[in-house]
């Protein structure tokens, strides 16, 4: 089966064609609006939020991905139906509905978070087994999800205030570092002392699996306002360590509570090397055999390939939606 996937839930306009044969996924085409090649072709750079004007991008991307106007060779269409920003989501959803109706092909509605989780099923010989514990960390999301089987999700906990990627961006801004904050802080942290400043590890005392990063952000702000001569590298390293310690400690608690056989780290923040390595090494020290999975760095941020993979899995279970009635859902939940 070959699926055309469309993702417009946030800043990135993305289109991909992915096929699945005997359980193996092949990325045939994948294009993002932020890719330099496309910028050069269609002019200009896309400012971070103006990229929401997906309408301007979607058809050039469709053309570039090489879809025939008659839909030849495409068996189904997958589209991100939520969560996300309504005007952004609508562009992709309406295009998906239109194509499904005009081509008379089945349509799959994919949850953006489900897409992130399925990013680890690509480019791997050994995909996760169930039950799998998923830690999803991105600019807009920070949550623990238990997956008992394909398509079977239970929300275990989530941030009560700021997402972890947002905390990175805001702390970077306080430090005068450019956007996006995650890579910048990681780079600065390499030169810094992670034990220099004792920032809080939020929510470690609570027994649940909820998280909170607003207080940590405020702690950095207070530190910066009380000290004149600061080391950006030390603040970055100490902040990063507080984030990683918190996420890893909570993940280990979630493992104890849910006894998964696989742990999945996904979302844009999964690209952070310190987080990846610390989590992987903590999991490898467990008595139980638990496998660790994180996406290729190229697939950790928003993309349409992950939507295609989640869509192919749903299509294989016959979970189609009616193109005449599908509506973008900004608050769409996985569980």
């Amino acid at each position: 089966m070959r699926i055309l996937a469309i993702e417009t839930s946030c800043d990135e306009t993305a289109v991909a064609i992915v096929s699945m044969m005997d359980g193996v996924f092949t990325i045939e085409k994948s294009i993002l609006s932020s890719q330099a090649k496309i910028h050069a072709l269609y002019g200009g750079v896309v400012p971070e939020v103006a990229a929401r004007e997906h309408a301007a991008w979607i058809f050039p991307l469709m053309k570039d991905v090489g879809v025939s106007p008659e839909g030849e060779g495409i068996d189904a269409i997958a589209v991100t139906a939520g969560p996300g920003l309504v005007p952004a989501l609508r562009i992709g959803v309406e295009l998906g509905k239109t194509l499904a109706w005009a081509w008379n092909k089945p349509l799959v509605a994919v949850n953006h978070l489900e897409g992130h989780i399925y990013s680890v099923w690509l480019n791997t010989e050994k995909p996760p087994s169930f039950p799998a514990l998923s830690l999803l960390v991105s600019g807009g999301h920070t949550e623990f999800i238990l997956m008992k089987d394909h398509g079977d999700y239970t929300l275990l906990g989530m941030t009560r205030d700021d997402a972890v990627g947002e905390a990175f961006d805001k702390v970077a801004k306080m430090l005068g570092l450019p956007y996006p904050g995650g890579p910048q802080i990681s780079r600065e942290a390499l030169e810094g002392d992670a034990t220099a400043i004792s920032f809080p590890r939020p929510m470690l005392d609570s027994q649940d699996l909820d998280l909170s990063f607003s207080g940590l952000k405020t702690a950095v702000r207070v530190y910066l306002s009380e000290h004149d001569d600061i080391s950006v590298a030390d603040v970055s390293a100490s902040f990063l360590q507080a984030v990683v310690d918190t996420l890893v400690a909570k993940t280990m608690r979630a493992i104890t509570q849910t006894k998964p056989v696989s742990v999945i780290l996904s979302g844009g923040v999964s690209a952070n090397r310190v987080l990846r390595e610390t989590l992987q090494s903590s999991i490898s020290q467990l008595d139980a055999e638990v496998t660790f999975h994180a996406p290729d760095l190229s697939l950790s941020g928003d993309n349409a390939v992950m939507i295609a993979v989640a869509g192919l899995m749903k299509a294989s279970r016959g979970e189609y939606v009616d193109p005449l009635t599908l509506v973008a859902d900004p608050n769409m939940r996985l569980a």
Partner: protein, 140 residues
């Protein structure tokens, strides 16, 4: 009116008192630096109206909707222009469909990013800091 708060609970309490004075169609601007308690304040307003789910920062999502029941007000729109780089990015959000409507209360963080003043407030709150305390100034 000026309020001093020492922690999140006190900020939420001030927000709850403030929320009592609100009516449908009100638009509240919340100005202040990062980590000054703007989102916490909106959390207090939402809790006053009986919204019990966590109120999360809309910095990334730009718009969060909190459905509420029990009066003619059916939702709180929690907006954050933090990531807006250019005022031209605001009209595509199509906020005019909901802002100012009698069934909606709107809270906007980083309203100064709306340089074109496409939205007018009914209340303007400023969040600052003095001797480790949050100072919330409410202008009607």
């Amino acid at each position: 009116m000026e309020y001093l708060t020492h922690n999140e609970e006190e900020t939420k309490k001030v927000a709850g008192e403030f929320a009592k004075t609100l009516k449908g169609g009100d638009v509240i601007f919340l100005s202040g630096d990062l980590g000054m308690g703007k989102t916490t304040f909106v959390r207090g307003v939402a809790e006053y109206f009986g919204f019990s789910d966590p109120v999360r920062s809309p910095s990334f999502t730009i718009v969060n909707r909190y459905p509420i029941t029990g009066s003619e007000i059916t939702q709180i729109l929690h907006i954050d222009f933090y990531r807006i780089d250019d005022p031209s990015e605001i009209p595509p959000l199509a906020l005019e469909e909901e802002v100012g409507q009698p069934d909606t209360i709107v809270c906007i963080e980083w309203p100064e990013k709306d340089e074109g003043h496409t939205i007018s407030p009914t209340h303007h709150l400023r969040f600052t800091e003095r001797e480790n305390r949050h100072v919330i100034t409410i202008e009607k």
